[in-house]
Each structure stands twice: as structure tokens, then as C-alpha cells.
């Protein structure tokens, strides 16, 4: 059900069926792009591969965004602790949720 791996598109072969040569850390395989026909990837793009088919394009922006949020975890809390250390105990904890972007709709 679930084993799907990110791979980079090296070359696209158009024709009868659109396939791509993808690279996963030096391992290469031809992958069927038929499920991405509404939004074809280009060489250099990253796609998620499952059973020899590309399932989805991977958004580098969203990946970086996610890491940024995670790395910031605890910083608001640390800031709060510092503030509390100054004796300002009536300040409520800022909503951590505000750091999250809105869900993709």
C-alpha cells in the first residue's frame, strides 16, 4: 500500500506511453508517467514513485516549509520561558498554531 519513494526525473520519453527515467540516489528505473498526465513533470522535477508509476509531484517549497515549522518548534516556548523568567507570569502562551500555514485547499 505504502512504499513510495522520491526520485528525480532525468529524462522523459514521449510517445505511445509517456515514461521517464528517474534516479534514486544513483539507482535508475523507467517509470510510467500516465497518472501525472494532467500535470507532467519536467526533467529535474521530483516525483513520488510507487510500483513503477509516478503518483505525485513533490513540492520542494512545501518540504522546506515543513522543516522550517518543525525547526521552530519549542522556540516560542523558549521565548515564553524567558519572558516568565522576568516575572511576567500573566502573559498567556502564544498560540503555537499560528505558525502553521493554512491547509492546502
Amino acid at each position: 500500500m505504502c512504499l513510495a519513494i522520491p526520485g528525480q526525473v532525468v529524462e522523459i520519453f514521449s510517445g505511445h506511453q509517456t515514461t521517464a527515467l528517474i534516479d534514486v540516489v544513483g539507482v535508475r528505473r523507467k517509470v510510467d508517467l500516465g497518472l501525472l498526465q494532467d500535470d507532467m513533470p519536467k526533467p529535474g522535477d521530483w516525483v513520488l514513485i510507487h510500483v513503477g508509476f509516478a503518483m505525485s509531484k513533490i513540492s520542494e517549497e512545501d518540504a522546506l516549509d515543513q522543516m522550517r515549522i518543525l525547526r521552530a518548534l519549542g522556540e516560542a516556548e523558549a521565548a515564553m520561558q524567558e519572558v516568565q523568567g522576568y516575572g511576567m507570569d500573566d502573559v498567556t502562551t502564544p498560540n503555537q498554531h499560528e505558525i502553521e500555514p493554512a491547509d492546502k485547499a
Partner: protein, 376 residues
């Protein structure tokens, strides 16, 4: 590995685990179900349970397509392949799953032509390069895998490959989740949603879980940081008394799903009125079969299939473990009659099966995590 290593960064994992401990209310006991077998495997493989506070319990769900396949279906598939000049092609996951007369690998040792394929398209290629044989592809999987089978059938028809057929055991995830929530012995607080199924079906199909059942769902990726972040998301919702669907796996999952994949499925498949799920019983509208316009490539229509129902041994408690009611080691057969070497049920064979995962990764761990200082 890009898009993999970042989500395994030790420092960020440690930080996220601290956030989980901060968010978990010590007065509450949280029961969070990860639906997908791939998440079960990841949780064990990355040792994520070691990072969670003791009041967060991860319950393994039924999202393992090998585990929920009744033994009779394996028997049927193997019976077709007994015929002369038929090649049985399937994913590696199926090879050790026991039928009543043995697993596909055991049949291979006895002379059946059994091949492991990585892709349904490889099975089709096998047919094209072996015109004097018939290749029967034993298809399994949820909506993650079904579109690939569908597209392969589209190609088989378009290229007039007549020595190829599919024995279709694709199942759908939503009815399984419904069956879990309808089960009276199940009390759950939130869900870690199946990330790769969602690349196809999107996030909308889970909305009823939030709206009707009032349970938070985080559709999750499979790296350690994905799963941990999903737990953070549902804990935050639970703290605020909220219930909504969140897309943790944004970098890959489109909210609306993959239209081309859904189109391919609609072209080739239709819902069976009902299908038997190992452990969950008969569930209506929960599995796919091949439509009449592709009848020639439907192994069930091309060959006579006995369709025998094989019940699991009474002592095996696969159903309860599948539903998350029992933990693997609580099944009477666990680690005794049922081991990865001699599996009684599919949960012990499939690498996603909770019994196999527990046996292989967890079973012999004693309280030594704390005693291991830096090793090297």
C-alpha cells in the same frame, strides 16, 4: 537522499518529540490509530514508540492489503495458476502468504511458474515477451496501487495483449475506517491518515470522520518527522477540542487527490457490492472488480474460480488484532504456533502486518533503552 534524510534529522526529531511530551495532557490516555500498514512498519522501523510518552498509545489499523485478504482468495489465484502455461506474477509481499495448500513461494518450489514483479507494468511486459504463456497478475493494494493496475489494463487493451489478466483484490480504505469506528469495542481519539492512499483520493473523503465522528485526522507522510508532526497536529486539535482534517503530507498529497488516477480507476474498475475482509467480515462497497468492458483481462471472468471461503483457524485472533482491539502479543498463537517462519495469519507474514512488525522489531526489547548510553 533528498526528501528523505531531512525528515530523519535527529535534532529535529528530538525537538518534535519534546513538543509531543509538552502537548500530551498527563491526565489523559490518548488512543491514536495509524490506519495504514506502511505507517505501522515505519513506527517500528524508526523506533518511534520509544520517543512517545507512556500515555500515548498507537493502535494499528487495518490498512495492510495483504493482511486483510482472506485465504480463499489466495487459493483461487493459485488454482488459476495451476493450469498449464500460466505464469503467476505478484509483488514480493504476496510470496510467503499462506494459502491452504501453501504460499506462492512454496508452489514455486513444487514447480509452478511464479514470478516476483515490482510493477504491474512489468507483469504486462512479461506477457508480451512470453506470447505462448498466459500471465496472471495477482493484484493487491488500496487506492495507492489500484490506479497503476488500472492504467496497466488500459495499456493491455490498447496494445491488444491477450495473454494477460489481472486477479483483482484491490480494496478501498474508507469502508475499513468506517468498520473500525462502528466497532463497539473500539475507542479512539484521533487518526494518523494514510498518506499515499491520499495522493490518489485526496483529503476530502476523510471529512466525515471529523464532522460526524468528531475525531481529528492528520494525513501523514512516512518519515519519522512526518509521523511525529502528525501526532503533534492531532494533539493540538484534541487540546482545543477541535476535530478537522489536516494535511501533514502537503509536499506530496493534493487536497483534491489525483484526477488522472481516479479517472483511470473509473474506466477500469467498479465497486463490488460486498467483499470479505479477513478479520472484519463482509463489508459492502469496499472492494474493486474489473468492469465488463475489460472482461477479457479479468482473471475471474476468464478462468473458473472456485470462490471457496476459507475461515481462519478459530484460535487465531487476526480479526481482533486487525481492528486494534488486541495487541499482537495478546493473540493466543503469537510467537508460539504463529511466527514469521510458520505464519498462521497474514498479519505475521506481511512486513506491514502488526504481528510481524511486533515480532521482528519489538518483541525481545526489554527495558534497556535507558541503559544504552552513547554507543560509539
Amino acid at each position: 537522499m533528498k526528501f528523505v534524510d531531512e525528515f530523519r534529522e535527529p535534532e529535529v526529531i528530538t525537538k518534535t518529540a519534546e513538543e509531543i511530551r509538552r502537548l500530551a495532557d498527563p491526565k489523559r490516555h490518548y488512543r491514536i490509530m495509524e490506519v495504514c500498514g506502511g505507517h505501522t512498519h515505519a513506527i517500528y522501523r524508526f523506533g518511534l514508540k520509544d520517543l512517545l510518552p507512556s500515555n500515548i498509545e498507537l493502535i494499528h489499523g487495518p490498512g495492510c492489503p495483504v493482511c486483510v485478504l482472506p485465504m480463499g482468495r489466495i487459493d483461487d489465484g493459485l488454482e488459476i495458476a495451476q493450469q498449464p502455461d500460466v505464469i503467476f506474477a505478484a509483488f514480493g509481499d504476496m510470496m510467503r502468504v499462506p494459502g491452504t495448500q501453501g504460499s506462492p513461494l512454496e508452489h514455486k518450489a513444487r514447480g509452478m511458474d511464479v514470478r516476483i514483479v515490482y510493477s504491474p507494468s512489468d507483469a504486462l511486459k512479461l506477457a508480451q515477451s512470453n506470447p505462448e504463456k498466459h500471465v496472471m497478475f495477482f493484484a493487491i493494494g488500496f487506492e495507492t496501487t489500484a490506479p497503476s493496475t488500472a492504467l496497466t489494463l488500459v495499456r493491455a487493451k490498447a496494445d491488444s495483449v491477450h495473454n494477460f489478466s489481472v486477479f483483482c483484490n484491490h480494496v478501498t480504505i474508507i469502508p475499513a475506517i468506517r468498520a473500525i469506528l462502528d466497532s463497539p469495542d473500539m475507542r479512539l481519539d484521533a487518526f494518523i491518515g494514510p498518506g499515499h492512499v491520499s495522493t490518489v483520493i485526496g483529503c476530502r473523503p476523510y471529512e466525515w470522520i471529523a464532522v460526524n465522528e468528531k475525531k481529528p485526522v492528520a494525513v501523514s507522510g512516512f518519515e519519522p518527522l512526518d509521523i511525529l508532526q502528525s501526532i503533534v497536529m492531532v494533539l493540538r486539535q484534541l487540546r482545543k477540542g477541535e476535530a478537522k482534517i489536516e494535511n501533514q503530507y502537503k509536499r506530496v498529497v493534493p487536497w483534491e487527490g489525483n484526477r488522472a488516477a481516479l479517472r483511470a480507476m473509473a474506466e477500469v474498475f467498479e465497486l463490488r457490492p460486498y467483499f470479505e475482509w479477513r478479520g472484519l467480515g463482509f463489508i459492502s462497497q469496499s472492494a474493486l472488480r474489473i468492469t465488463d468492458s475489460y472482461a477479457e483481462w479479468d482473471a475471474e471472468q476468464r478462468f473458473q474460480v472456485a470462490g471457496v471461503r476459507v475461515t481462519d483457524p478459530k484460535a487465531a485472533q487476526c480479526g481482533e488484532v486487525l481492528k486494534g482491539v488486541l495487541k499482537p502479543h495478546q493473540c493466543k498463537l503469537f510467537a508460539k504456533e504463529c511466527t514469521p517462519e510458520h505464519p498462521v495469519g497474514a498479519l505475521m507474514v506481511s512486513s506491514e502486518g502488526s504481528c510481524a512488525a511486533y515480532f521482528n522489531y519489538e518483541h525481545r526489547k526489554t527495558a534497556m533503552v535507558s541503559s544504552i548510553a552513547s554507543v560509539v
